[in-house]
Structure formats: C-alpha cells, structure tokens
Symmetry: C2
Subunit: 355 residues, 2 copies
Amino acid sequence: MTPLCRTAILGFGTVGSAVARRLITDRQDFQLTRILDRRAAIKRDGFAAATVAWTTCIDDILSSDVDVVVEAIGGVEPAAEWIRAALNAGKSVVTANKQLMARHGDALLRLAERQGRQLRFEAAVGGAMPIVRAIGDGLAGDRLTRIVAILNGTTNAVLSRMEASGCSMADALDDARSCGYAEADPSADLDGLDAAAKLAIVCGLAFGLRVDPSQIPTRTCATIGASDFAAARAAGNTLRQLAQAHYDRATSTLTISVAPALVPRDSVFGRAAGPQNAAVITGEYSGDTSMTGTGAGGDATAVAILADITAIARDRSAIVPAPALNVDFRLQTQDCSVPFAISPFRVEHRLAEAV
Amino acid sequence: MTPLCRTAILGFGTVGSAVARRLITDRQDFQLTRILDRRAAIKRDGFAAATVAWTTCIDDILSSDVDVVVEAIGGVEPAAEWIRAALNAGKSVVTANKQLMARHGDALLRLAERQGRQLRFEAAVGGAMPIVRAIGDGLAGDRLTRIVAILNGTTNAVLSRMEASGCSMADALDDARSCGYAEADPSADLDGLDAAAKLAIVCGLAFGLRVDPSQIPTRTCATIGASDFAAARAAGNTLRQLAQAHYDRATSTLTISVAPALVPRDSVFGRAAGPQNAAVITGEYSGDTSMTGTGAGGDATAVAILADITAIARDRSAIVPAPALNVDFRLQTQDCSVPFAISPFRVEHRLAEAV
C-alpha cells in the first residue's frame, strides 16, 4: 500500500480549482491538504473540504508535510521563487506554467535533480494532449527535426469559430470568453506570446536547444477578419495559428516562428476545432507522428496535472531529465512580414500520400 | 557523466538489426555488447561491429555484464522464459513483443518490480506512435472510457493500397511484402489476432482490466475485395481494421472487438495510409485525444525501443507501474457477424464539431 500523497495547490483559479475538485472527488490515493490563494478568505467559502487548510502565505506550505506542490498561479514571479523554495524544502513540484518553464525550466529542473525531487510540467504545453511525454520520452529514441503545431487553445477556438460561423473576431472572442477559453485581454494568446513560450519548451525537449522565447518571431492573429477566411476557403484552406520549428542538425540552424498560416481544411490542423491543440512531430527514423487533444480549460489542464502527480506518487525518487541545453546554434529569422506563413503543405501531403 | 549502458539484443531480425544499427551509429551513450541469434554464425558476417560478441546461448547473455536486454525474437516462448531469466539475473528488459505482453505482461511487470529492475514495452503497441506512454502516463490523470484504433500496420498498408489503387488484396499483399510490411503468412495481421493482443495491452493500461486476447471477438479483413472499397467510397467512406474497446465503468462492462469497419475517408482513420497506426482515446475529463504514427517497420519500432533504453539509462532505479489488473468485469460480445463493424462516426463528429 503506497502511502497517501499529500498535495498542496498554489492558486485557486480555473486550473487550481479543477485540480482541487478532482483530488477531492475521485482520487482517493491523494490527499489535498493545503490551498494557497491571495483571496483565500473569499474563495474558501465556495469549496467545502474539511481536510483542507487555506492560507495566503507560502511559508505555511513550505513548512507543512505536503509531498507535492501544484503551482497554478501563472506568471513568472513569484511562481519561480516559490517553486525554488518548494524544491529547496524537499517538495516535488507540478506546474502548468509555460512562461516560467520557457525562461527558467532548465535551471529549476537541475535544482530538482540536485534535491532528489521532481519538477513535472506536462500541463505547460498542450493541455491534456500529452506532448511533453511524447517528445521527451516516447520519441526520445529518434533524432527529431521538425515540430509544426497549434499550441494555443484560445486562438484556435476563436479562429475555428470565425471559420464555422463567418462572424467577426470581436464576436468570436466574446463567444470564447463565455465558454471560459479566453481572458479579458487575449493579446498574449492572439499575438503568439503564449505559443512562443510553449514552442521554446518544446525545442528544449525535441532538439536539446535553449531558445529564448522573446527571440521567436511572431505575427499576430488579431487582424484576421471574416474576408480572410472567405479567401482561404475558396482555395480549400483555412487559417490557424501555427508554431513551427525546424532544426537542421547538419548546420545547427533553427528556423522558428509563431504566425497565422494557411492550412488545408482537411488537414490535421484545419480539422482542429474549438480549444483543440494539434502537433505533427517529424523524426529521421519515425517520420511523422501526430497528436490532437483538448488544449485549454480547467478540466483538460487538470488531467495533465493529475498525470504528473500520479507519476510522482508512483515513484517518489524518479529522475526527471534535466538536460544541458545547447545554446550553440544559429537562429534563422523567419519572415513574419507576410500576412500568412507558408502552410505546411508538405507535412499534409506526406501524411496523405504515405502509401 | 552517466556510465555507459551496456545492451544485448535477442533476435537479429528486422527489428533487432534496426536497433543494432542505431546503437552502433548514433547512440554513443549506449554500448551494444552482445547479440543472440540462432543463426549467429551466418548473420554476424553482415554486421561489422568489433565490440559485439555473438552467441546462440541465452546463458552467455545472462552471465554477462549487460544492463539492458532487448527482446526482439517475438512469439511467447522462449521469449517469456528468457525475459523472466533476465529479470532474475538483474537485467532490465525492453521488449517489442505484444503476444507476450498481452499474456504475461502483468506477471512479468510484477517480477521486474520485485527485482528492482524495469520491463518497458513501448514498442509492443503502435510502433513509433507513443501510445503506451500516452495512455499509461500522459492520460493517467483522466478516467478513460474508450479506445478506437488502427493497431496493425500491415493490414493498414494492404487496405490503404487497395483503396488508392483499386487492386486486389493479393496484389496489395505482394506490394506490402516487397516493402517489408507483410510476412509470408499475413493471417495473424489480417485476421485481427495481432491487433487483439495489442488491444488487450491497451485495456490493461487504460482501464486496469486483464483481458484475455483470445476472448476478443475478431472478424478477418482477408475477404475484403475491390468492390467493397468501391461501395464504401460511394458513401464517402473507406475500410480499415479497427480495434475498439469501450468500458462502461457504471456497469463494469467492456465492449470490445477487432474487425473491418466503414470509416469516413476524411477521418483520422480514413486518412491513415501505408503502415500508419492511429488512435482516438476518450476520457471523461479530456474528451478525445488522437494520435497517428508509423506503426510497422524496423526503423519505427527501433525508435520505441531506443526510447525505452533511454528511459532506463536516465534512471536505473525507476519504477515501471505493475498494476493489479481487475478481472471482475463483464465482457460484452460484440457482434462480428456483420460484414463491417459500426463505424465510429460519433468519434469523428465529436472531433469535427467541437466548436
């Protein structure tokens, strides 16, 4: 009988509250004992769980007997400082924080390794789509060369809504907000900064490269209008925000961008609807591997977080790789001045014509 | 600096030789030291590697200093006996053997756990498509309810060839043999026995159920002719071999089958061409997650095997879950007497209409 895994949650927003509900209702192998939220006094009234102690102070978590800390506050600080403190206090950490992992992931992973603890981050990229394990573990036996992916569920919900209804971006944004997929200010999603952080994490896993997310060229999706979809449709295409990274190992050149792209309507990208994410991962030996899955929302993100807590509970002394990321490569600037990026037609054709 | 991971390969066929080439050419972190093959005297001449000792005797492997044994001989015996002996001798084991894992997987996983060693089997299902990790790790934070999948690359290569060219099954089989995707006797592939073994493994990972592969209802694809494809095409469909498992947790009822099925041509299944595999995994919280990837061939299978060796080398004392599989469920007999199974239209529509 494995001892109960005592868990704390930092941040009781959409993701943190979804994790809390799952831990209380259907995971008897875990015990949720602490929740930190700066508005604990208000939020505790809406969440009835006798075993949970609420706090506004990180020291209450650090000095407690919790085994795993779930970081769901978002943003770089104080999340980075708190994760560092939790690892130093002997806790393992699960995070959904892409900005943090893109900027400080390798240093925090090395700290976790030194501490004999784990830092897991499946939820930081792709929501429930298990792309971190697919690239970091399942395809670790290949030499990967290319990732083409939809990594922002909010933007995909907006664009696929415009495609399906012919509505304006403003109306599609209102719809996404009412479904809980978009925040009041969606610019980090539409402008590509969210996807760029996720793509930087993916480049570390896939190519062993340390990519500064602020150096990834981006072009916004915010200016796309109904007429752009009409024009795309006439040629059998639609528009999606694509994150693309191609690593030429012979010349150590990384070509990378996040931008709106024309994609065939019947492709894995064109078919991604609502908050779905999608990815095509290309390797020298395995060819193309594709994935799709629910990329946004509390329940989907909680699935990835619970998967990581499960992994920690199964094997408390597991080693999560802390690779020494390579910085010795050439970053090729992708031209993001054109309205729509080059569509990954070749990807699609290779998938369709594999016979 | 991690010490070199010394590796032995049992069986120098399509898969074993692909693994050997990869270990020799581009994985300096592993050292291939032993190869066992019953025709070692002949095969060693075609493989120049000074560090490798060839043998026909399993005791030479067991008494050697290898850390990891790759089992690539296939079939249940002597593979099961040799894996048991290797674990008892303190080796970790990586296998691509679905028949073995479907029948003896849980007992062997428990033995590995008792020995403090690892038994990994990503290559047993899906080739390079990392479905074992997706279900067993990445989606372990959900309550999974359904798997619909193409799990046999040979049958898919044959059926998609018939679809694309209008040729007979005999001609498509000749073509698949010349590409190395089909053996002289393809009946285990076409009849569904290979996919049934893989589906049994998947049911253990996804639902925690111990399914006897011989109890899975199957219907052969061998009788499908060119006229069946023509009739399917007229309705926008095509034919694929689908492995399906639906677990109703409320009634503990598992409905399961492997049979030819009508699928929409533009679905993730209809688009799977050549030796590709595909899967749609449904969970209560994450909805549908889909994957596609190269499901057959030495290079693709070697990717999954190298991923498993990499995982062992990263963390020599990692715990691979050995779940206590539940046998207390009702197996619902799917009607396989109809020519083509019920198509998973609902899966497709949910994917397409998620907006």
